[in-house]
Structure formats: structure tokens, C-alpha cells
């Protein structure tokens, strides 16, 4: 399969570098493009277009790091910061708008109440994304990387 448009949401997690690299490998084959996005979840106490400077700065750092990886891998990448009330719907909307072939999502291994927990965003994207979704789970604590 050839994937020429890939969407990679980054959130400042350990797995971010891995998913950007994977997306670049897939996109390079088709001389495609990787859209790297960071979604800032804006609290309902603020308007959606409110200026959230600390979050924006942190998002810019994440995207700069991702862009560096794409440069090193000689892959065309576009970055964007999005503001939304919920992350999952924002990722799906972005995927639809850009007509991507695949979303690559990263997930750190986390436990909640003793159980492995995926949070809300990943299940939402898995349920609602119209395209293929590749899920990259990080290693368990103590697992060799």
C-alpha cells in the first residue's frame, strides 16, 4: 500500500519521535507528506479561540522537534497547532479535511486503577476515523527499547 498523506498527532509523549519517524518512512516511499499536528484542549471556561500562550509555546516546541526529525529523514512535513474542546474529534476532523490516507497515533503504556488504559482520544479516533489508523504503543516500564 502507498500512503501519500499521513496525519501524526503529537502530544509531547515518549512515543512521539517513533511515530514521526514511522510516518516519514511510509510517506517517503510515495513522496508524500506528513501532517504533524498538536491539539490544544481549550477549557470550556475560555472561548475556543482564546490565547493560551504556555500551551501554544509547548506545542510549538513539540512541532519543532517533530520537524527536525522529518528534516533528518528527508521527508516533507507540515505542522499545525489546533485548538479544540476535545482532542479526538479534532484529529478526526483534521483527517477528513486534509483527506489523509492514514493516521499514526502514539500511546504510552499507562495503567489506571491497575488496568491498562488507553484514555479517551485513541478509542474515539479508532471508532470514528474514516481512514486507516496505525496505533503505536510505547514499551512497558522496564521493557528494553
Amino acid at each position: 500500500m502507498i500512503y501519500s498523506k499521513l496525519l501524526v498527532p503529537v502530544r509531547g509523549r515518549k512515543v512521539d519521535d517513533d511515530i514521526v519517524k514511522s510516518a516519514c518512512v511510509l510517506a517517503r516511499r510515495a513522496k508524500g507528506v506528513v501532517y504533524i499536528v498538536h491539539v490544544i484542549q481549550v477549557s470550556r471556561t475560555l472561548p475556543l479561540d482564546a490565547e493560551v500562550t504556555p500551551e501554544t509555546r509547548s506545542g510549538e516546541d513539540m512541532l519543532a522537534n517533530a520537524e527536525k526529525i522529518a528534516d533528518v529523514m528527508d521527508c516533507q512535513a507540515e505542522t499545525e497547532i489546533l485548538q479544540a474542546r476535545e482532542v479526538g474529534p479534532a484529529i478526526v476532523d483534521e483527517a477528513v479535511e486534509r483527506g489523509v490516507d492514514m493516521i499514526i497515533m502514539g500511546l504510552d503504556y499507562k495503567k489506571r486503577f491497575g488496568e491498562f488504559d488507553m484514555g479517551d482520544t485513541v478509542p474515539y479516533v479508532l471508532r470514528n476515523a474514516p481512514c486507516r489508523v496505525l496505533l503505536w504503543r510505547g514499551p512497558m516500564e522496564g521493557e528494553e527499547e
Partner: protein, 218 residues
């Protein structure tokens, strides 16, 4: 405008849909998780699961910056409490409550709710308007229900037909504002003659409504 809707039932759902269509930022607060999920699936990220009567929930959803707060659950008590918290704690400029039991309308007004919508009263008013034999139709409620504007149609067999206005004994605090008859609309004076099938528009108190109807139709 930022509008918060409490209650994601049928009324809340369609209200939200219409408000979103008008370009407003809308948030629905719904207690039921499944209902909330359904709304989010169909309308996007506009539903938060929570109790609209709880100050903490209202704080979390940014009630402080809301321009309008609408409570449309099927429980009058919940609608009242939610609107009161929004009005008094978060200073929302406009609160609107749905009322299921029309008897609660005056109470809601007394407790500071800006606008009340009683579906029962609305249906009753439509029935009154649509049924031509009904002699009295409520047109508007004023001063939180203390006064109302009504329309009375004078039947042709009424004893007042052909009489002058000053000859009729109207109940106290009832003011005849307009008569619409064969010669069109006119502001009646003491010498105005009441015509058969004319429509009389009057301002009256709810308790005097029966006496006013009797004075014009019997």
C-alpha cells in the same frame, strides 16, 4: 453568543441543533451518559455529562462567560435550581426555563428566572386560537403572570351587541384596548357601540378573566 442548554432530551437536542445552525457556541449538559454520547456523535463536541444543578459542574463548563442559560429538562425543579445557580452565582445575564406544570410559572418569575416557557400553556393557547367557538383567547402574559392580554369574540346572541361601551359593567382592573369589527380596528370610547362578532382586546387580571368573558359574551 455562548449558550448553555441543560437537558439533552428531545427539546434540548433540537434546540441545540437550531442554535448551532445560527452560529452560536452551544454546550449541552446532560446527566445520562448514553444520551450524551449520542448527542456528541451527532452534533460534535457540544455535550458534557453532568448535573446542571451543581455549581461545580457549571463552573467547569464556563457558565461565568455564558450569555444565555436555558434549562429544558422535564423536571421543573431541576430547571428552576439550574437557572437560579446560573443567575445568582454565575451572573448569567439571561436565564430561560422550561415549565411543565403551568402553575409553576408565577413562582419561577418570582424567583428571578428571566423567561419561562410553558409548553402546556403554548398548546392551550394554540387550541384557543384554532377553535373558533372559544370565546376567550390568551394573547400575552405581562408582569410575570399578574396581568394578561386577552381577546374576546362577541357572539351575535350576546346581550351587549348594540350597546355602548359605557353601558357595560366590566370587572375592575380590566381595560378594553381595542375593538376589531366591521369598520376595522378602533380604540373604543364610552360611546363605541359593540358589534356582533367583533374581537375585543383587553388587559385584565387572570382572576377577572371569567367575569370579563361573561360581561361580553352572555
Amino acid at each position: 453568543m455562548y449558550i448553555i442548554v441543560v437537558g439533552g432530551g428531545k427539546v434540548g437536542y433540537y434546540l441545540t441543533l437550531a442554535l448551532l445552525g445560527e452560529g452560536h457556541e452551544v454546550l449541552v449538559l446532560e446527566k445520562d451518559a448514553k444520551r450524551c454520547e449520542l448527542i456528541a456523535e451527532q452534533l460534535g463536541s457540544v455535550c458534557v455529562r453532568g448535573d446542571g444543578c451543581e455549581a461545580r459542574t457549571l463552573a467547569d463548563v464556563g457558565t461565568e462567560r455564558a450569555d444565555m442559560f436555558i434549562a429544558v429538562t422535564d423536571e421543573d425543579e431541576d430547571n428552576l435550581v439550574a437557572c437560579q445557580v446560573a443567575k445568582h452565582k454565575f451572573k448569567v445575564p439571561r436565564t430561560i426555563a422550561r415549565i411543565n406544570n403551568p402553575k409553576n410559572e408565577a413562582l419561577f418569575k418570582k424567583l428571578g428566572i428571566d423567561v419561562t416557557v410553558s409548553s402546556t400553556n403554548l398548546i392551550l393557547e394554540h387550541i384557543e386560537e384554532e377553535v373558533p367557538t372559544h370565546p376567550l383567547v390568551h394573547l400575552l402574559t405581562l408582569r410575570g403572570g399578574a396581568l394578561e392580554i386577552v381577546e374576546v369574540r362577541i357572539p351575535s346572541n350576546s346581550s351587549v351587541v348594540g350597546k355602548r361601551m359605557k353601558e357595560i359593567v366590566f370587572p375592575p382592573e380590566s381595560v378594553i384596548c381595542l375593538m376589531i369589527g366591521g369598520r376595522g380596528a378602533q380604540v373604543p370610547t364610552g360611546d363605541t357601540i359593540l358589534e356582533a362578532e367583533a374581537q375585543v382586546i383587553a388587559v385584565t387580571r387572570p382572576e377577572a378573566e371569567g367575569a370579563l368573558r361573561a360581561a361580553l359574551t352572555e
